[in-house]
C-alpha cells in the first residue's frame, strides 16, 4: 500500500517525559536498521546462499512443496542433492532462490525512489517556496497530482511505458514528488522569515547561494524522515504493481512477481505467496519502524508542518 508519509507522520512523537535509556529511545532505529542491513546483505550475497539461478525452469519439478530434494549430477559425474527449501513454482523455479534474489529489486527500488523523489521534490519545493510566481503555478499542479490516489496514478503511468524496472521507478516517483514539494515549501516559507536569512539578503548573497547555504540545510532532517517513509511505500507499491501483473516483467525475481505467479494455485500451494509475503512485510515494517524512530529523533515537529 502506498502509505502517505504525511499520514504516518500525523501522529505526534512521544512526549519527552523522562529521559529514557538509549536502547529504549533508539530501539526502533536499531531494530529497523538491523533488519534492513540483513536484507541488503541477503540480496548482495545471494549467489553464495545456496541458491541457484532464480530464473532457471525445471519442468520435472513443478509445484513442489517446500523441502523437496532433487539429485543433481555434477559435471564430473558425482551427484549431490539440491533441496528446494521453499518449494518450487508452477514453472519449476526454486522459490527460495527467487525470494533471496527478490530482496535486490525491492531494496533497490526503495532507495532509488526515495532518493529521486526527495531530490526532485527538494528542487521544486525550494524554488516554489522562494519565488511567489512559480509558487502559484507549481502548487496548483501539485494539488492536481495529489488529487489522484497514488496507486491509481502509478498504475496509469505504468500503462504508458513498456513494462520494466525503469518505468516502474518513474511511475512510483511521480505520485511521491508532490508530497515532498509540499513539505519543503512549508519549511522554506517559515525559514525565509528568519533573521539570518534577512541578514544574508542584506549582505547581498545571490539567490542560489542563499537557498543552498541558508535554506536547504533546514530541510534535511525532515527530508531524511520523509525519504524513509517514501522508501517503505515504494517497496510496497512495486510489489503491488508486480502482483497485479503490470510491474516488473514476470521472469525477474521480485517478491511481487513470485506472489503473482503463485496466485493461480494458491489453494494448493500457499508457499508461493507466504514466503515472499513475509519477507516483504518484514522489510516494509523495518523501514517504517526506522522512519518512526528517525522522526522522534530528528524532527518531532514534522507532524505539525505537513
Amino acid at each position: 500500500m502506498s502509505v502517505e508519509p504525511a499520514l504516518l507522520a500525523g501522529e505526534t512523537a512521544a512526549p519527552p517525559a523522562k529521559p529514557r535509556r538509549r536502547l529504549a529511545r533508539d530501539g526502533g532505529i536499531i531494530f529497523g536498521a538491523t533488519i534492513i542491513l540483513l536484507m541488503a546483505l541477503m540480496g548482495i550475497t545471494a549467489p553464495w546462499l545456496g541458491t541457484k539461478n532464480p530464473s532457471e525452469i525445471n519442468p520435472a519439478y513443478r509445484n513442489r512443496l517446500p523441502g523437496i530434494e532433487q539429485t543433481v549430477r555434477n559435471d564430473d559425474g558425482t551427484t549431490r542433492t539440491f533441496t528446494y527449501r521453499m518449494g518450487t513454482d508452477s514453472l519449476g523455479r526454486d522459490v527460495y532462490s527467487r525470494v533471496i534474489y527478490g530482496a535486490r529489486i525491492s531494496l533497490f527500488i526503495g532507495i532509488t525512489v526515495a532518493f529521486f523523489s526527495v531530490a526532485i521534490g527538494l528542487f521544486i519545493g525550494l524554488i516554489a517556496g522562494y519565488m511567489r510566481w512559480v509558487d502559484a503555478i507549481v502548487m496548483r499542479l501539485m494539488d492536481g497530482l495529489m488529487a489522484i490516489p497514488a496507486i491509481l496514478l502509478a498504475i496509469a503511468l505504468v500503462s504508458l511505458f513498456r513494462t520494466g524496472l525503469f518505468s516502474v521507478i518513474v511511475a512510483i516517483i511521480v505520485p511521491e514528488v508532490p508530497r515532498v514539494v509540499r513539505l519543503v515549501r512549508s519549511i522554506v516559507l517559515s525559514v525565509r522569515e528568519e533573521p539570518y536569512v534577512e541578514a544574508a539578503i542584506c549582505a547581498g548573497t545571490p539567490t542560489h547561494l542563499l537557498l543552498f547555504r541558508h535554506v536547504l540545510p533546514n530541510t534535511i532532517p525532515a527530508l531524511i524522515v520523509q525519504g524513509t517513509f517514501i522508501a517503505a511505500s515504494a517497496i510496497l507499491l512495486e510489489a503491488i504493481l508486480s502482483f497485479l501483473g503490470i510491474g516488473i516483467p514476470p521472469e525477474t525475481p521480485t517478491w511481487g512477481n513470485i506472489m503473482a505467479e503463485g496466485r493461480g494455485l494458491f489453494r494448493i500451494y500457499p508457499h508461493n505467496i507466504f514466503f515472499p509475503g513475509i519477507c516483504l512485510a518484514l522489510t516494509v515494517l523495518a523501514v517504517n519502524v526506522l522512519g518512526d524512530g528517525l522522526r522522534d529523533r530528528l524532527d518531532p515537529k514534522l507532524a505539525r508542518r505537513v
Binding site: 499542479l141 488529487a147 496509469a156 504508458l160 501483473g245
Partner: protein, 309 residues
C-alpha cells in the same frame, strides 16, 4: 454555510480540470494507434479508419477533451461498451466493499484508539500501537491471502473468492463481502487507531475532562462523550485523507478476491491498454476523493461548533 459549500465546490473545479488535462495528455502521449491495435494485424487501412471514427479518435484533440468534460468518455477499446455503461455495471461491488470497510474500520479503530489512549504506556497501548505499525507494513494481498487460507481453506467457514450482488440474496452477499472488507480495513484501522489515540491524548489533560471526572461522570462517558467528541476533528480529517488508501486498496483487494468492481476494471483496462476506461476510472476516483474531503471539511462544524464558514 451554503455560500461556503458553493465556494468550495467552485474551488475544486480547477483541481479537477488539472487532473483531467493531466490524465488526458498522459494517455495521448503514448506511442501506438489504439484503432490499429483493436483492428488487429489483418485489417486494412479502411477498417482502421472506420474504427478510429467510431471511437471518436479522428476528432480534433480539443473536441475530444471537451467530450470528456461533458462526461462522455466514449467507447471502451476492449469491452465493446460505452465507458459509462461499463462503470455503472461495476459500481455496486466497489461501493459495497468500500462502505463495509469503512464501517468495520471506524467501528474497530475508534474504540481501540480510545482504549490505547486511556491505557497510555501500558501493555495494551503498546499492543495496539504495534498492531498499527504492522497494519501499515503488511501488504493488502498478504493479509487477504492469509485470511482466505485460514477462514476459507482451513476452517471452511466462508467462500474463497467471488462476489454476489445484493439483489441475489443478502446472506450470500454478506458472506462473500466479509473477508475482503476485513482485509481492506486492516490498514485503515491502523491509520485511524493511531490518530484517535493521539488526538484523545491531546485532550485528556484539558480542564473539562477534569471537571467531568470531578462531577462523578462515569469513565466510559468521559472518554467517549467528553474526550472523543473534542478529539473528533483530526480523526475525521484522517478518515477523509485515508480514502486515497482505501481506493488503492480496493484495486488490490478486488484482484485478490476476484470481485468484478471498479478496481478490477482498472487493472484489466491497464492490461488491455484500454485508455478511455483508464481515463474515466481515474477521473471518477479522483473526483470521489476530492468530494469526500470537501464533505469532511463540512462535517467539522458538527463536531466543533466553533468552526463557522
Amino acid at each position: 454555510m451554503l455560500g461556503y459549500i458553493l465556494r468550495r465546490l467552485l474551488a475544486t473545479l480547477p483541481v479537477m480540470l488539472i487532473v483531467a488535462v493531466f490524465v488526458f495528455l498522459m494517455l495521448r502521449m503514448t506511442p501506438g494507434d489504439p484503432a490499429a491495435i483493436i483492428a488487429g494485424d489483418n485489417a486494412n487501412s479502411e477498417q482502421v479508419a472506420l474504427i478510429r471514427n467510431r471511437l471518436g479518435l479522428d476528432e480534433p484533440i480539443l473536441s475530444q477533451f471537451f467530450n470528456i468534460l461533458h462526461g462522455d468518455f466514449g467507447e471502451s477499446f476492449f469491452f465493446k461498451k460505452t465507458v459509462t455503461e461499463l462503470i455503472a455495471s461495476r459500481l455496486e461491488p466497489t461501493l459495497a466493499l468500500s462502505v463495509a470497510t469503512l464501517i468495520i474500520a471506524v467501528g474497530i479503530a475508534v474504540p481501540l484508539g480510545v482504549l490505547a489512549a486511556y491505557k497510555q504506556g501500558t501493555l495494551i497501548d503498546k499492543i495496539v500501537m504495534g498492531f498499527s505499525v504492522l497494519g501499515f507494513s503488511v501488504p493488502v494481498f498478504v493479509i487477504g491471502y492469509s485470511l482466505i487460507y485460514l477462514f476459507a481453506i482451513k476452517l471452511n467457514w466462508l467462500p474463497v473468492q467471488g462476489y454476489q450482488r445484493i439483489g441475489d440474496g443478502f446472506g450470500g452477499f454478506l458472506q462473500r463481502l466479509i473477508l475482503p472488507a476485513v482485509t481492506l480495513s486492516v490498514i485503515y484501522i491502523a491509520l485511524i487507531a493511531r490518530i484517535t489515540r493521539t488526538s484523545v491524548l491531546d485532550v485528556m489533560n484539558e480542564d473539562y475532562i477534569r471537571t467531568a471526572r470531578a462531577k462523578g461522570q462515569v469513565e466510559i462517558k468521559v472518554l467517549f462523550k467528553h474526550a472523543l467528541k473534542n478529539a473528533a476533528v483530526p480523526i475525521v480529517t484522517v478518515i477523509g485523507l485515508g480514502v486515497a488508501l482505501l481506493i488503492g486498496g480496493v484495486v488490490v483487494t478486488e484482484s485478490v478476491f476476484t470481485i468484478p468492481g471498479l478496481g478490477r476494471l482498472t487493472v484489466d483496462a491497464v492490461l488491455a491498454r484500454d485508455y478511455p476506461t483508464i481515463q474515466a476510472v481515474i477521473l471518477l476516483f479522483s473526483l470521489v476523493y476530492v468530494l469526500i474531503n470537501l464533505a469532511v471539511d463540512l462535517v467539522y462544524t458538527v463536531f466543533d461548533p466553533r468552526i463557522r464558514y
